[in-house]
Point group: C2
Chain length 313, copies 2
């Protein structure tokens, strides 16, 4: 499901040396950098960073900061972080921009254990909790929803309870029919039930009331809150479909959203980007590589395509 | 800080055999049971249970259920559970009685890691999350408060930020002065900030406004919610003082509350009951052992006194 192509064994001494060479002299050898880090998995990259620091008494990250720039630099910076640390950085950047969509993506696409590891990394890096930052960056019902989405330690089983799905689909339908999108019960159900149970509830909703739940929630003066509900529902239903949509929107809307492209590709290249690529092709009749090649340029493009596994473009 | 007196090494084969003997024949030898399990720590008790089941093809817990009764049985049952599993059982019992005080005690007295372990044990035992059970047992603002208290993975550092304490003491004071106890900001601050930070905020509140925060929150039509606020504040401020008060109330109010006595003594005997005993003596000029001996009887009394470390009563 990953797209990254990395050798089983890599020589981190040779890699650190190659990166050191690529960063020396007048121009930076961006291709040389991509050739190494674009073909190393997260454990290998960690070793390279450690080795580089030992050998050359400087942090590889600092060196890259000096040598690289723009979208390429940002993508490489994120790529070189360990996965949970990267999510912590992405969340922190999102909070500064009050980008609740990214907060929902980061809290609803991972498993309970992954979310926990990400929250631990956040605490280690920023010396307070993700929860307190989310709570103090947002207000009102949006805060209620976001705070519980990042806080609750969901049950992970695939088991579902049909009676409960029926009962809660009915509660959700009643709230939605009356346009009470802010009802506590909607927030309670979405934030506390296991994802498998929620998916069962969403199916039940569609079967009983004819429309998928996300499509039933339309129009409200509090557009951010409604949009957050949609995002949460879609992330819970299918993280991969949601992320495919993030990529499509980032590329097909006016003005390419490089941050979103980088975020999804960098966080998923070692995970399930192959599946996301498949979904992208199905919906757009265009390969993701092709779309990325059209919308990005230079070393940034080369780097993204490399970790996407597109060797010969 | 613990009161339990247990040998460093215990022979779990001999212990299992002694318990088997104590449960055989016409009468049960309760003293024999107390002699063993009242002097074994949680790891030793776990081994005894495993050994007993292997040797006698029945669960020790089931055997105790048959042989023992009343408060003694309940205390032994709780004692024989592993700590986090015990908390899961206590939470489940509390939920059935809508006893929000116990839910707050179980979520606010442990560290973030302990709370997490307890939530994992809850999921393993009941096949859903503590969060969803709390959310579906309560409503309104009481639910909002309780759900976040059990959900948030608090930051654990002892470091505090004086500027933040000042700012948030002011926010709390403004809400409390206006009798807006249900204000989102009170819930946000109490549920998301680290405990050390909250204690700093409480001190700042008292210094700036002359009254401790808990004492400032008085009277409201929603008595349960206000009472929950008090409990949360006291558990965060000092778990041991809070638990001392639970014991005092359980013994000195009309009608002894055996469940509360059992809960605090059993959960704390291997932890910090010595400190709680000290606090009890300071406030009541009576030893906790003496009070327990007055309020309880028979094997139940003997068992409690044994794990409290009162050998010669």
């Amino acid at each position: 499901m990953a797209t990254l192509i990395a050798p089983e064994h890599a020589d981190h001494f040779a890699d650190a040396e190659a990166l050191h060479k690529a960063c020396q002299g007048w121009g930076t050898d961006e291709k040389g950098i991509i050739e190494v880090i674009g073909h190393r998995n997260s454990a290998q990259r960690k070793l390279i960073k450690e080795t580089y620091e030992q050998q050359y008494s400087e942090k590889l990250g600092h060196r890259f900061e000096k040598e690289l720039s723009g979208d390429f630099e940002r993508a490489v910076y994120r790529w070189m972080l360990e996965p949970y640390e990267r999510e912590a950085v992405l969340a922190n950047v999102a909070l500064k921009k009050s980008d609740y969509q990214v907060i929902i993506e980061l809290s609803c696409t991972p498993s309970a254990e992954e979310l926990l590891a990400f929250k631990r990394a956040y605490q280690a890096r920023y010396l307070h909790s993700l929860e307190e930052d989310v709570a103090s960056h947002f207000t009102g019902d949006l805060r209620k929803l976001l705070l519980l989405l990042v806080s609750v330690y969901r049950y992970e089983s695939e088991a579902t309870n049909a009676t409960l799905a029926e009962a809660e689909a009915e509660i959700l339908h009643k709230c939605i029919k009356d346009k009470e999108y802010h009802h506590d019960e909607i927030i309670r159900i979405l934030t506390t039930r296991s994802k498998a149970q929620l998916v069962a509830t969403f199916y039940r909703f569609r079967d009983a009331y004819g429309t998928p739940i996300a499509k039933s929630i339309v129009g409200d003066k509090d557009q951010d809150y409604v949009s957050a509900l949609h995002t949460a529902i879609r992330c819970i239903k299918s993280p991969q479909k949601y992320l495919e949509r993030v990529l499509s929107d980032a590329m097909h809307k006016r003005g390419t959203d490089e941050d979103a492209i980088t975020r999804v590709i960098v966080t998923r290249a070692e995970k399930d980007l192959a599946k996301i690529k498949e979904l992208f092709y199905k919906r757009n009749s265009e390969t993701l590589e092709h779309a990325v090649a059209k919308e990005t340029r230079g070393d940034y493009e080369k780097f993204l395509l490399t970790i996407m596994g597109a060797e010969h473009h």
